[in-house]
Symmetry: C2
Subunit: 386 residues, 2 copies
């Protein structure tokens, strides 16, 4: 297997793009990544997307986006793993290059949710859960996460306010990210007063539905220098799965697939949690941030919120998370989110994260969660030059 | 890159499975393939499916099917390329094994269409075409194919009856396939009298919407002997794309992606059309069979129907096609079809094709078409033993 690096990144602002269709959004991110990588062609395109069939009546995004981006004819396919779709597309791009079969490969994640923010999107998001054992009872995707959070608070004797630090940190960083959906800080009081959506999840616990696209270009590390002076190596890559149904997991308060994929990525990269300079985690809801920190080894079981309470997740903390706003403040265009995380990790490792830059960041991790924990994809990236 | 072989196959009958959900269908095929390969675990699962989100309100099939099949925890993802989804999943499984990253990999294609045969399925199938430039004008997927057929007949001075041989051959073979949806022969008169659906496409030009699942197990060729005495090698594998919109192609009567992917597969396998013992092509409509034969080098432009007229596509002909009934008679559960083609190719190469066996078949090709030609995936398989 060949070593693989990222030589180009691109993203659109996250928000409500009523003036752009799916293909235009994808094109904007993809073209930016190709310019950044100084490439004009590619061997393959992997598209991450979850909802285009349900929301836009458009499947078949691989060929569609390849053609629209001027790459007609190349190998192209869509990859789906609910909210982890973009990381899943990136993973296939990584395997394609690592295999020796493809040299220059593009991964793009795209989602368009705000044209129809009503029943189609709510039903579409619920399709990440188990239709026959969960959704049939009327549970929505946010309600499922609320059940997990409720149980977590009960077991660990916590209040909703104990999760405030996650949202405050995300908004503090998002406020300085020009691509973020919500570029405003929030106070602890605002978090506490925030309206409940599904008890105990309130508006400020939850990430925003959004439109957006993000893309990267990959190539073999040994060829990366031809295209880029600041290529970023993929040091670890792993996918793990679990039951879709929360009730069917061995432990509903433990993200087994987060632990499994992180441990595999750690082994591949030969690093541990203490070596990482930052962690782009999947804070679709504040509870998911806490569970992700626990399962990946940054906090003991039940103590994920302590890191937020103690300021350890800020840019100056022990393990900065959501450095460009996370899902909460950057926004969560579901099938694109995983590639936003990866693009932001590359920005940090290149030293291009602007006011949110972590000084001398060399090693970072991303983790993208599909459903309430059924597909979890972890990647570790390393700065090679400089 | 490692050489890759197929060590197990499984399929469900194609038809209306109102008593089984998506996961049960997928499980039946997957478990049969695992038994056939004498394996009890796998490193990864790739699921091909097109319509589960739209029709069954269920996304996230990778984790769902892995868990239901007793493989909880393994890497699993869904791959989509419209009606070519199953071959696209197979292609990713092939790359996973070829890369050295995964040893035992399962690809399963599953589709459930007949629970809701009305508007959801019609709209879902249309999502394979361009929503903004084709479907918005009210064209359905069959209507798009009808436009192509109409033009083809005009250019080549043909009548609808000239396509009869494709449907007659498919039904003749399907009549002897216990897994086929339509196990009955049809006469030339029945074909001619068949009711029009979208002029000039009549009922007997079109494949049947159906439920079904098919699966294969792949592993490195050097390990194949541990599991199977009749492993089948993957000699060629290629994906090519084209414009989704028919009007935007350089030539609406030429499947450029069929030519491109076939030529790449021929080069990789170091063979040509004349070397092949059979060809499982994508006869979603009779016109597609003709175009596929032309683009892959079996017939000159405009002369695809001549092979049907002259009996060259039957089991005794120069290039047998649809040896187990093809999409027309076996049925076309869209996101599973590519793996039915591959399972049937393996049956032929193992000598397990029953009354439809081609004597001493050693080399076969499959071709799976997404949309009206926008994603075309070609594979070439070879018998190694015996």
């Amino acid at each position: 297997m060949r070593d693989v690096s990222i030589i180009g990144i691109g993203q659109t602002p996250v928000g409500e793009h009523w003036d752009k269709s799916l293909r235009h959004l994808a094109y904007d991110a993809l073209a930016a990544a190709m310019r950044d990588a100084t490439i004009e062609r590619a061997d393959a395109l992997y598209v991450g997307n979850m909802l285009s069939g349900e929301v836009s009546a458009q499947a078949h995004l691989g060929a569609l986006i390849a053609d629209f981006a001027g790459l007609r004819g190349i190998e192209a396919v869509k990859v789906e793993a609910a909210c982890a779709s973009a990381s899943a597309a990136f993973r296939q791009a990584y395997i394609g290059v690592a295999s020796g079969l493809q040299d220059i490969v593009i991964a793009v994640g795209v989602e368009k949710m705000t044209d129809d923010i009503g029943s189609k999107v709510t039903a579409g998001l619920a399709s990440a859960a188990d239709a026959e054992y969960e959704v049939i009872h009327g549970v929505s995707f946010v309600a499922l996460n609320a059940l997990i959070m409720q149980r977590y608070m009960y077991e660990n004797k916590l209040k909703r306010e104990d999760f405030a630090g996650f949202a405050i940190n995300a908004h503090a960083n998002g406020a300085r990210n020009p691509n973020a959906m919500f570029q405003s800080e929030i106070s602890r009081e605002a978090f506490v007063r925030s309206s409940l959506i599904a008890d105990p999840i309130a508006l400020l616990d939850a990430s925003g539905m959004a439109d957006g696209a993000a893309a990267v270009v990959l190539c073999p590390t040994e060829q990366a220098r031809e295209f880029s002076s600041n290529a970023i190596r993929i040091k670890g890559s792993a996918v793990a799965t679990d039951s879709l149904s929360v009730h069917d997991r061995r432990d509903p308060l433990w993200l087994q697939a987060a632990e499994d994929s992180a441990q595999r990525a750690y082994r591949q990269a030969k690093v541990g949690p203490a070596d990482l300079d930052f962690f782009e985690l999947h804070d679709a809801f504040t509870i998911m941030a806490a569970l992700s920190l626990e399962a990946t080894g940054f906090a003991e079981r039940g103590k994920g919120t302590w890191l937020a309470r103690d300021g350890e997740i800020t840019l100056e903390g022990k393990i900065p998370i959501c450095t460009q706003g996370g899902l909460k403040a950057r926004g969560h265009p579901v099938g694109a989110t995983g590639l936003y995380q990866i693009v932001e990790a590359v920005q940090q490792l290149r030293g291009e994260a602007g006011p949110n830059q972590i000084p001398n960041a060399r090693l970072g991790m991303t983790q993208n969660i599909g459903g309430s924990g059924a597909t979890i994809i972890t990647h570790i990236f390393e700065r090679v030059n400089g």
